[in-house]
């Protein structure tokens, strides 16, 4: 039964560009991109309890690395471009994560918030590479002879990478590493007492989270086709945090649902013009008041009741 449902879902996802107009294909791609960020952020916040308000910074690093690589080395296959974007971002994540090891909770949130601002400033100042405020038009990604220019092609790219990333995340959660991370979430001191190397795992979580976000940033550059520093402000970081909290901390399906909810809300509320932030804020407050723990914990409750 579960397998049948998953199979049907997979077929719908594969045929999606045939079923809906291109705009929804584009929107779905954005949802998947955001879902990858949300999963990455959740690996950090949901598992090791390290809250980040700087993921727009990682996202920007990934987007710019992918964009610059595509412009400077057009022959590079997109898979390599994305991998490099992810790795570069993971390195940045390490550079931020190691000094931040001692920090917890609020202090880490502050440091990452500042990091987000610094990344935007760096993009502005490296204008020989990033063209500063003018922004970069990102050409279509290439896979051998194929230029992935259409919405459907971009969608399949995003979906393929997204599926890989989800699978990897599920596996991380199931392994020794995942259990160690969960143990850290429950109690750092207890985890340490049971032999978990705290510093190593927290740093690892930082790097992996940055990797996810960097890959998503690269995909974002291809899907939207244009990036500029204004895209990556602190409010984007806040949106990412909102995704995992609305979806559910520490839950991978929750991350995906949260990303979908926030992305669709933005799309839907755009038509309300000046009322958009008002409604968005009210929905956030409502979610938290009536659904603490996010959608994932509510879903778990429902399935529990159904059984």
């Amino acid at each position: 039964m579960r397998w049948a449902a998953a199979g049907a879902g997979g077929v719908v996802l594969l045929c999606w560009p045939l079923l809906v107009p291109p705009y929804f294909v584009f929107l779905t791609s954005l949802i998947v991109v955001n879902a990858i960020v949300a999963i990455g952020l959740n690996l950090l916040s949901g598992y090791t309890n390290q809250l980040s308000f700087g993921h727009a910074g990682f996202f920007a690093v990934g987007a710019y690395v992918a964009a610059v690589l595509t412009l400077r080395a057009p022959a590079l296959p997109v898979v390599a471009t994305l991998a490099l974007a992810g790795l570069a971002t993971a390195l940045v994540g390490l550079a931020l994560g190691i000094p931040c090891l001692r920090l917890e909770g609020l202090y880490l949130a502050m440091a990452t918030l500042a990091f987000g601002f610094v990344v935007v400033e760096a993009i502005l100042n490296l204008d020989w590479l990033t063209r500063g405020n003018d922004g970069l038009a990102v050409p279509a990604a290439r896979l051998g002879p194929l230029a992935l220019g259409s919405d459907a092609a971009k969608y399949y790219l995003v979906l393929g990478v997204g599926a890989l990333m989800v699978a990897a995340a599920v596996n991380i959660a199931r392994t020794r590493t995942g259990r160690a991370l969960l143990a850290i979430r429950e109690s750092e001191i207890a985890a340490q007492a049971s032999g978990v190397h705290l510093a190593a795992y927290k740093t690892l979580a930082f790097a992996v989270s940055a990797f996810y976000t960097g890959v998503a940033g690269g995909l974002f550059a291809f899907v939207v086709g244009f990036i500029s520093p204004d895209a990556f402000d602190v409010f984007l970081s806040v949106d990412f945090v909102a995704m995992i909290i609305v979806g559910g901390l520490g839950s991978i399906p929750g991350s995906i649902v949260g990303a979908a909810v926030i992305t669709l809300l933005y799309d839907w509320l755009a038509a309300f013009q000046n009322y958009r932030p008002l409604l968005f804020g009210l929905i956030l407050i409502g979610c938290m008041l009536f659904m603490p723990g996010g959608i994932a914990s509510r879903m778990a409750k429902w399935t529990h009741q159904a059984q």
Binding site: I245, F280, L284, G293
Partner: protein, 292 residues
């Protein structure tokens, strides 16, 4: 650069710095009581300043009365927010509360835009702008006024925390909620009082700074500097918040004087990361023991 100019730049920095300090203090007041960050602090400041201004526009009230109205509006807003929203989330995690205050900041800013538009408005000032001579130096009364007003408020707050029953209760709750409850302190009342007090401090800061940065729906963004200031001073410490705010204001003004264009705008953030990494307890703070 002449000494006169340098003194002026530093005094200007101290003026904005004292506003950052007030923002930091109001954030710390709420943090100490409820262990949460209030992302809507800046928007609460903005709303109460707007309310005062509306009264001024409609009734041509004198400025001291405008300040009183802004303070009253802030107190009411702080009380309502705590009572209607935050208290219902008390069982939720701190992160949930964080998102709630974030939602609140969006709601308040959008509501202000709907009521007063997103335009910027001039705001009447207690102090004049044309410079006065102090010996060989020239300073703007408005800068001195802001610094003086803020310092007076800080002293009043210090007195409140030290010598009143409420202040002692708030300090007790900040140190250990369970112990405070066992001592017979109504923690809920302290929550309420903290939100009201933080909002009132914000409103006074708003009325002081609005003539300088102008009244608009986006003036609440000054709270971001308040966060930075609070971190510089070591989050949770009141004297730290004051020093952090002043330091940030002065550094923000001195950085453009000597640093190249590429880096000067990053100074507050680089400094914040540096402080966090090297000395997370802030410039004044002590390292706190971690609780199991």
């Amino acid at each position: 650069m002449t000494t006169t100019a340098l003194v002026h730049v530093v005094v200007s920095g101290l003026a904005t710095g004292s506003i950052y300090a007030l923002m930091a203090i109001s954030l710390v007041i709420i943090y100490n009581a409820t262990r949460t960050l209030n992302f809507a602090q800046g928007e609460m400041l903005m709303i109460s300043t707007f309310v005062g201004w509306s009264a001024h526009e409609a009734l041509r009230l004198p400025l001291p009365l405008v300040l009183l109205i802004a303070v009253a509006a802030a107190a009411a807003l702080g009380w309502l927010v705590e009572r209607l929203v935050i208290r219902h989330a008390i069982a939720a995690t701190h992160l949930d509360v964080l998102i709630i205050t974030l939602g609140l900041s969006l709601v308040l800013r959008a509501a202000a835009g709907l009521v007063w538009t997103h335009d910027e408005f001039p705001f009447p000032s207690f102090f004049r702008e044309r410079p006065i001579g102090l010996g060989p130096l020239r300073v703007a009364p408005v800068s001195l006024g802001i610094i003086g007003g803020s310092l007076a408020l800080m002293l009043a707050l210090a007195a409140l925390f030290r010598w009143t029953r409420l202040g002692r209760a708030m300090r007790a709750v900040a140190q250990n909620q369970r112990a405070a409850r066992l001592m017979g302190i109504s923690v809920e009342r302290v929550y309420s009082a903290s939100w009201v007090l933080a909002a009132v401090v914000g409103a006074i800061a708003g009325v002081l700074i609005a003539p300088v940065i102008f009244l608009s729906s986006k003036m609440g963004l000054v709270a971001i500097n308040g966060f930075t200031a609070a971190v510089l001073g070591g989050f949770g410490s009141m004297p730290g918040a004051v020093v952090g705010g002043m330091l940030l204001g002065v550094l923000e003004n001195l950085a453009p004087l000597w640093l190249p264009a590429g880096i000067k705008h990053s100074v507050p953030f680089l400094l914040m990361i540096a402080i966090l990494v090297i000395r997370p307890s802030g410039v004044l703070g002590r390292v706190r023991q971690r609780k199991v």
